[in-house]
């Protein structure tokens, strides 16, 4: 079959832009359901994965997305060996939106998968962080076609990708600055190793894992670039390969970062509202969530996710996002401790949300394109957007209207001491920032269903439904 035919067939079935690179198969959606085609060229690998017991072991360990094989599907499948329907992931997130702990767990999951694969005579041909998603709270491989049959003597083809996608950003976050995970937003195939080598502190040259896998690795890339070494360099035994995986794993485990000392790390200790106000807010969120029955909630400015959990009690999947790496890390650790399956902590700057990136700007979706949500929570958030970031209220209403159908939003008046703090260093150029101004702006896009004064505070909590 020619490429052209194959491509036209793929286009008809709504092939997803993110999966164009893989010759083993591709994702497509039909009738709102997501499928993955396994190409004939990948038949041997797929059969090995399923028959060796590797698939079952990985799924059981929560390391690989489960799928079912689809027998009948209309269409032209000359290139198809099998069509599978993977379990749908509630929300796709990207490594530049993960906290340190999330990226670390994704790295360890990848190595754990590789170790199990080697035992079953297979090896990962990709170690892309984008192939990992959080499913039921666990880092899980979602690309079923990432495995190849292992040939004795071959090195790990995904080694460089693993270093760029996981080891380098984790080392930079732990040992230089946690915000350097944002390099992943610029470098879609991971942090270039020469850049990581330059940015890491000098002392990392005395750490065996980082010396070899980053510093020497970067030098070797430069020194041997373009030389054909494969013919004369010899081979790598399976034992040596396992040793390499173990050493990467130990290098990753040694990297740590603890939240604290950042913007909002102890936010709830410095808020100005009482326990009664806090409890009342939680109660309202719980009640309104039960009323709107959302399947997907986006809690924006979630801090450590207290209200996300209140909204999640009704069974909704809650994306719990915040701008502060420390809050997201705490949220993630708490989520793991509770073994929550429906909370996804996420690092997100609402004043500059994740854009769509990659080839033709279609490989990774923007934050907005991954919606809309059924319900959006915007608690103690509006004053930051309207006053600190100067967004006019009508534009805020437009923004929220695009994100979701239901909106639970808190209005924090100018007289509130937290707002006064924001106004200390800037001129008050916000004459419309009043309860009346807020309501009239949001009424353009929403029906105001409820407006409740929060106990023991000057704040108002609203439940709104989009027109």
């Amino acid at each position: 079959m020619t490429n052209q035919n194959q491509n036209s067939g793929q286009a008809q079935r709504g092939q997803l832009a993110a999966s164009f690179r893989d010759p083993s198969g591709f994702l497509f959606s039909q009738g709102g359901v997501l499928y993955r085609q396994v190409n004939r060229s990948y038949a041997q690998e797929y059969a090995h994965l399923m028959e060796s017991g590797l698939y079952e072991r990985l799924v059981k360990a929560g390391l690989l997305i489960p799928h079912v094989e689809v027998d009948e599907l209309p269409g032209d499948y000359e290139s198809a060996y099998e069509i599978i329907q993977p379990e749908r992931v509630s929300f796709i997130s990207y490594p530049y939106e993960w906290s340190f702990g999330q990226l670390k767990d994704a790295a360890l999951a990848t190595l754990s998968i590789q170790r199990r694969a080697l035992k079953a005579g297979m090896s990962l041909k990709d170690a892309s962080a984008y192939n990992i998603q959080f499913v039921r709270g666990k880092a899980t491989l979602i690309d079923t076609l990432s495995f190849e049959v292992y040939k004795e003597g071959q090195p790990w083809v995904a080694y460089r990708q693993f270093c760029q996608h996981f080891l380098a950003p984790l080392a930079l976050m732990a040992l230089r600055d946690v915000r350097l995970n944002q390099l992943l937003r610029v470098y879609i195939d991971g942090v270039p190793l020469d850049l990581a080598s330059e940015l890491l502190p000098f002392k990392t040259r005395f750490n065996f894992g980082l010396l070899t896998n980053i510093h020497l690795h970067a030098s070797a890339q430069k020194r041997y670039a373009g030389t054909d070494v494969k013919a004369r360099a010899g081979t790598m035994s399976k034992q040596a390969l396992t040793g390499l995986i173990d050493s990467l794993s130990s290098a990753i485990r040694k990297l740590n970062w603890n939240p604290g000392g950042t913007e909002w790390g102890n936010y709830y200790d410095i808020t100005n509202y009482s326990e009664a106000a806090f409890g009342h807010k939680k109660e309202l969120v719980r009640e309104w969530s039960a009323r709107a029955k959302p399947a997907l909630v986006w809690d924006l400015g979630a801090n450590t996710g207290v209200f996300s959990r209140a909204a999640g009690e009704t069974g909704a999947y809650v994306v719990s996002s915040d701008i502060d790496p420390a809050a997201v890390e705490q949220n993630y650790r708490q989520m793991k401790g509770e073994k929550s399956e429906n909370i996804l902590p996420l690092l997100l700057d609402l004043t500059n949300p994740s854009p769509s990136i990659g080839w033709a700007n279609q490989e990774r979706d923007s934050f907005g394109a991954r919606g809309p949500a059924d319900m959006v929570l915007a608690l103690a958030l509006v004053h930051h957007l309207a006053i600190s970031n100067n967004v006019p209220l009508p534009q805020l209403a437009d923004f929220f209207a695009k994100l979701g159908k239901w909106l639970v939003i808190e209005f924090v008046p100018k007289s509130d001491s937290q707002v006064q703090k924001l106004l200390v260093s800037r001129e008050d150029i916000f004459p419309n920032y009043t309860r009346e101004g807020f309501e009239s702006a949001f009424k353009q896009r929403f029906k105001i269903c409820e407006a409740v004064n929060v106990h023991e505070s000057e704040r108002v909590l609203y439940l709104m439904e989009g027109h």
Partner: protein
């Protein structure tokens, strides 16, 4: 030092070689540790039970 991208140069060769180097160094470590066990045995130390083969579940 140059910072220009090198469009025709594949960094794959270096990544290949460094894996062999690390494997060699790790192999050396394993060999030393293995012989250390033998040396200790000569002096009457009891051999340790084999370490857990299966890795812990990822958290």
């Amino acid at each position: 030092m140059h910072f220009a991208p090198l469009p025709y140069l594949d960094p794959g060769s270096g990544s290949f070689l460094i894996q062999l180097l690390i494997a060699a160094l790790l192999g050396l470590g394993v060999a030393v540790r293995a012989s250390w066990g033998t040396i200790k045995k000569w002096f009457g130390a009891k051999p340790k039970a084999d370490e857990e083969d299966d890795e812990p579940e990822s958290k």
